[in-house]
């Protein structure tokens, strides 16, 4: 490409690339991801309702999922969504918007297993994110357990991280 090698970053953001992200940015990213999961659930609900309507329009009633089913569905969707995103690109949509990337301790991309485990841990203990506010290295409980990091990375591709 003609723009190969041309930095596409604002000058003021360049010093932060590769540094560990703090709790504020990561919380915003997590909130965006929560909205994404909520959207997926609503979309799924609409699809199920639509199918029901098509199949039995006369006896149609809007689906009334139980609380347990809703929480479980949300949990599964969140885990699959986060795990697949981190394994594929290192970033979920919330991370993408806020310019973050989840990497392993040495800066490499997470594997599938570690991504799924981290997604499970995040979905099970979301408050573990708040440990970033206390950790000097901006690490959440999941990061400490799985030896991962979340860094600022505004570029489309992964960059070499700095501890």
């Amino acid at each position: 490409m003609a723009t190969e090698g041309v930095p596409s970053l604002p000058r003021e953001a360049r010093p932060y690339q590769g540094q560990s992200a703090g709790v504020a940015t990561r919380s915003v990213a997590a909130g965006i991801d929560a909205l994404v999961v909520l959207g997926v659930l609503v979309l799924g609900y609409a699809v199920v309702a639509g199918v029901r309507l098509v199949i039995a329009p006369l006896s149609f009633r809007p689906p009334d999922p139980s609380w347990w089913f809703t929480v479980t569905s949300g949990f599964v969707v969140l885990m699959v969504y986060l795990g697949a995103s981190w394994a594929a690109t290192g970033r979920s949509y919330g991370d993408h918007v806020m310019g973050l990337r989840v990497v392993e301790a040495r800066g490499g991309r997470l594997g599938v297993v570690r991504s799924l485990v981290r997604a499970l841990a995040c979905a099970a203990v979301p408050v573990g994110l708040l440990w970033c506010a206390v950790s000097p290295e901006n690490r959440s409980l999941q990061d400490l357990v799985l030896r991962t990091r979340v860094v600022y990375d505004w570029r489309p591709r992964a960059v070499t991280t700095r501890p």
């Binding site: 604002p10 953001a13 703090g22 504020a24 806020m98 310019g99 206390v134 901006n138």
Partner: protein
């Protein structure tokens, strides 16, 4: 026959020639002269009127008058003696011009022959072009000229454009423009979506919030790590 006329005197006067045969002088009395004088005078005048023009004509025909005048007449003195100013003052130029048929004169002038004899280069060489140009109001001239129409109708724009392009070093020009333009900024603004200004601002605000939290955390840690002030006993330390 030659005739000589003398004054009438008191005595007898010999007034004529004698015949070659007789050579006898004719003696006229005073009374006779008085009687004959008017008649003879008329005869002599008539003869002179006939003879003198013939003689003068013959003489003039045999003389080169122009040569004689140029040789023996000082024309400069003659002209200097003439008061030309007075003569010019007496001239009624309006009347002269009024009587002149200028159109006829102009028609008879061979202007091309006149122009062919004019050395235009010499005339132009004597003209101070700078002074002439300084007196020209170029702005007024340009105001009266429709330059756009002139350019569009008289210029071959393709040729001009080609000449300009030939003189331009497009590669160097492009390199200069690329250096001057903030290309990354343009790419960011054109890619839109995520790299929009809103997202960029949110990201920068997130970084600023992270730094603020990090500073607060560091300040709290440093307060905890500060040693107790000198002179004050440590809490729980044995006293005495």
């Amino acid at each position: 026959m030659a005739v000589a006329v003398g004054r009438v005197r008191a005595g007898p006067v010999v007034v004529g020639t004698a015949s070659r045969l007789t050579r006898v002088p004719v003696v006229l009395t005073r009374r006779t002269v008085r009687l004959l004088w008017p008649t003879g005078r008329s005869v002599v005048a008539a003869v002179l009127d006939r003879v003198v023009p013939l003689l003068v004509e013959q003489v003039v025909r045999r003389l080169a008058l122009t040569t004689l005048v140029t040789r023996y007449v000082d024309l400069d003195r003659v002209v200097a003696a003439v008061d030309l100013d007075a003569a010019a003052m007496r001239l009624d130029i309006d009347a002269v011009v009024g009587r002149a048929d200028v159109d006829a004169v102009v028609r008879r002038v061979d202007l091309e022959a006149v122009l062919a004899r004019v050395d235009v280069d010499a005339i132009v060489a004597r003209v101070d072009v700078d002074e002439v140009v300084q007196r020209v109001d170029v702005d007024a001239v340009l105001d009266r000229v429709d330059l756009t129409t002139v350019v569009l109708e008289r210029l071959d724009l393709d040729v001009v454009l080609q000449a300009v392009l030939d003189r331009l070093d497009l590669a160097a020009l492009t390199a200069d423009v690329m250096e001057a333009v903030d290309l990354p900024e343009i790419i960011r603004s054109s890619t839109g979506s995520v790299a929009s200004e809103t997202v960029r601002g949110a990201r920068m605000q997130g970084i600023a919030a992270d730094e603020a939290i990090s500073r607060l955390r560091s300040r709290l840690r440093s307060r905890r790590a500060e040693p107790p002030a000198r002179g004050l006993p440590a809490q729980g330390a044995p006293s005495g």
